[in-house]
Subunit: 218 residues, 2 copies
DNA sequence: ACAAATTTTTAGTTTTGTCTAAATTTAATT
DNA sequence: AATTAAATTTAGACAAAACTAAAAATTTGT
């Protein structure tokens, strides 16, 4: 498997949100930042290799084999992200780019030893679940903060928008993964929220709330 | 810098044994397991990029810039080797292949954090010195065991032949990096040695002795 | 149902890195 | 010094992965 092939497999997996749906040529092109014609070419090749199902004009989906490949890549990507944060003191917004390279290193022993070193983590620094060696993982039970009802509380486990600017905003406002959050009140007018985070009461906009994931605790 | 370009730079560096000598097209081809014509093409490109000095029919050498690039690659390669052995329990003979991939990961922060995590090691698992961030390193003061005079002792710091079969032989015979070795006697007839390693007295052939490096201690 | 808009594919190029076969230069021998 | 051998480069071809422009299929709107 070449690096490029792997990135395509991963893109198809991600667009389908983990469930094995059929995705369009254009959506893959957009995700990968390439042209649709390039996608067509690659998808034909992947089809011949038995990694995807492809019918011209009808979209692509992963085969059993492709699915397994995607899970391995996601596993590697997220394990490396944990490594970078836990062992090398990287911050949220720095890990993705490097993990994008590290996920392509070919060594099953490396992946599994890393998993062990990190204590078999179940989620990555963005709150996304890490597939086990067998490809199993708990479907994330995370909810957007904007959809959490008043009175409920949870733990901050991830972001929807993982762009550097947003992550930097969170850093600046002292909102971090693992923080306990209680939804105290919601403004009907603009959807902004009053929340208690740690021991601080703060007020955040709807836009922020709809990009932060909580794992509901009660 | 592409992965392939980096591997060429490294090959030129290694053939020149770290000193900046001019090396032949053929030697690069052999080291890289490619054809001489491919080397010519690549060397032209590297020359245009200012990484090597190249005169047709006269061989290649690294420029200042190329030298620096080579040192960075060697640094990354060897740091990853230490990481694999120290943190992930890889053995001598397993690290090279994986490090060959990891050395190409682009992130200065990653390299330097790794260096810190490992406690700024000075040698890799094969006894080869690791360049510092600034590109400085102590020239190895290692000597082939076969050339150590009778009565002298040292610490096993590396191998000349780093092929898997040889490394496996050492494992099997309980000879490891860091072991203290005393040369007790030498057979004139076949050059074989009687050595004390740890608390064991053993007899090794000239062939083995000429592939093991010691750092002389007294 | 038909025309217009959109999506997707095909055809033809480009760049990178490799190869083979042939030509050229340099080195070694007589 | 001439010939032979070895090393190196050139020329031409190919596979991978991308692109642009044009053609074909599908979807949408009326
Ligand atoms: Mn990637
Ligand atoms: Mn992530
Ligand atoms: Mn390499
Ligand atoms: Mn090494």
């Amino acid at each position: 498997m070449t690096l490029s092939e792997e990135d395509y497999i991963k893109a198809i997996y991600h667009i389908g949100k983990g469930e094995n749906t059929t995705v369009s040529t254009n959506s893959v092109a957009e995700e990968m930042d390439t042209k649709p014609s390039s996608v067509t070419d690659m998808v034909k090749k992947l089809s011949e290799k038995g990694l995807v199902n492809y019918k011209p004009y009808k979209g692509v989906s992963l085969t059993e084999h492709g699915q397994k490949t995607a899970l391995t890549l996601v596993r590697k990507h997220r394990l490396w992200e944990v490594f970078l944060v836990e062992k090398l003191d990287f911050s949220w917004d720095e890990v993705h780019e490097v993990a994008e390279q590290l996920e392509h290193i070919k060594s099953e022993k490396l992946t599994d030893s890393l998993d062990k070193l990190l204590g078999y983590p179940e989620v990555d620094p963005h709150g996304d679940p890490i597939p086990s060696k067998k490809g199993e993982f708990k479907k994330a039970i995370k909810k957007l903060l904007s959809e959490v009802p008043i009175g409920k509380s949870g733990v901050c486990v991830g972001v929807k928008d993982s762009s550097a600017p947003f992550l930097k905003f969170l850093d600046k406002n002292n909102i971090a993964l693992g923080d306990a959050v209680l939804v105290m009140d919601k403004e009907e007018f603009d959807g902004s929220l009053h929340i208690r985070i740690g021991d601080r009461d703060i007020h955040i906009s709807q836009q922020i709330a709809s990009n932060l994931y909580l794992k509901i605790t009660e």
